[in-house]
Amino acid sequence: MRTDAAARPPRFGPRARRAALYIALIVMAVPFVVPTLWMITSSFKPLNEIFASPPSFFSANPTGAAYAEAFSFQPFARQYFNSVYIALVVTATTMLVSSLAGYAFARIRFPGRNLLFVVVLVGLLVPGEVTIVPLFQMFKQAGLVNTHWPLILVTAFAAPCVLATFIMRQFFIALPIELEEAARIDGLGRFGIWRRICLPLARPALSAVAILTFLSSWNLYLEPTVYLTSPELFTLPQALTRFTDAYGGEMWNTQLAAATMTAVPVLVVFIFAQRQFVESLAHSGLKG
């Protein structure tokens, strides 16, 4: 069998193979694409159509009622704002902290540098799901439970920030040192070199860090579930799961409308900045 493989002509022509490839890809794409589309179209369905049998993709009588209800049932606008501002604060803090630390670990020589870098890397080793038990007690002692501080501080300094520091360090190690030397001779101090020479050059790494950090804050679910109890403090992922009626039944169309409002803006940004997203998220493979 194997020896005559070379002599035997391919069973199918290139056209048939191409067609088979397309069919296979389209079938495989269904679970990746249809749920998102179904979420969007179903969010415009009136409640009685949500579980229609046979299911229809588009609504016969589209309505925006679920969107209105999302805002009236919970302080959804407030929750949306919470998620956005927390993610922005975390992202800005992480960019600052990680670019400083990443630069120092890459460029400045000081006693104990390698040891301290290993200490920082421990932050990547320990999942937030493990530390949340003691962290909750710490924040309780500090009177910060049911505030946004735990979500901001832990994300901005622990695992996501350590990953960012690692990415920044790798970037600065690869950066040619000549520019900095010239600036040094011109009398610029370390801070000036970092600020004026290195940061402007670090745009690609910083945008990777920004995307990664924003998404990890935006997606937090365990932390808000543990720390927050007041609906007006909730973040989006947590709020999404609270659209239940008095009997604990899920208000599906309202949930889907809220989920659409959560997911679609990020998807739109992703479509426009695909390369940056893919490259930065591939970094997250480092952590898992």
Partner: protein, 317 residues
Amino acid sequence: MADTRIKPREAAPASRGPAARRRRVWTMSRADAAAGYLFIAPQLLGVLVFVIVPVGLAIWYSLNEWNVFTGATTFVGAANYQAALDDPQLPKVLGATAVFSGGVVVLNLALGLALAVMLNRRFRGSVLFRTLFFSPVVVSVVAWTLVWGFLLQDNGGINGVLAALGADGPNWLQSGPTAMIAVTFTQVVRSVGINMVLFLAALQGVPGELYEAARLDGAGSRRIFFRITLPLISPTLLLTAIITIVGALQSFAQIAVLTEGGPGLSTTVLVYYVFQQAFSFNDIGYGSTLALMLLTFVMVLTVIQWQLRRKWVFYED
């Protein structure tokens, strides 16, 4: 140690050449070292306060019994660890964790590799397909899982489509095996895009001459895949396997939103069990003990991954 670092003129090996000599200019000043400490201070302090101290506390908590009502603690030594050994639920939880993580790894790697191989060559629409397969990665986990929960209801979209095809779908989330399939599948579909990208990068790194030579020697495409492609990208395969297991061990939101660990304990993985013990049942001592167990699994896997990464750095990118 401090002295040798500050005066690298004696310490630096001569073999480092001109680059090392030039760098000496940078290492001479104490002020520069001070700047270094200042630059890393926020990150270092952050890790100490939000990671290392909590791990220490978790160890301390695991040695104590907590009174839920008074908040008083009593030192109980290894009692919580003994409780873990005696916990009749824990074997089931660890079993579910193994099935979930194992299922996620196998499916994720197989699907990720298949997608990467199919999309490795450029053809009309290949970029669009890459985008589609990657897109769930950027959708919020909770939103993604909610939609799947909606589709997996007994009268939901998936059973609706099955009914239209004349098949009778199960009540997915209400029986153990199908609930496990559901959480595994939704986790894989959401995250396989990352592995696809990592595999695509690895496939690009396989030298084209190897394929040509193999083809000249008369190897078929299946043989080329198993004898050339697969061995050459095996480092990436192993690394992504570990990364994927570590990710699966930390999947909390998927489980919490889709099944809440149920029905029964069938989808209660370790991370969800930790949450239940520590926050639903307020058993801080036992919750910490289980959290340390989770930490041990993740640490062992991550350290292996780092060792392998160092060893195979050549293959990366």
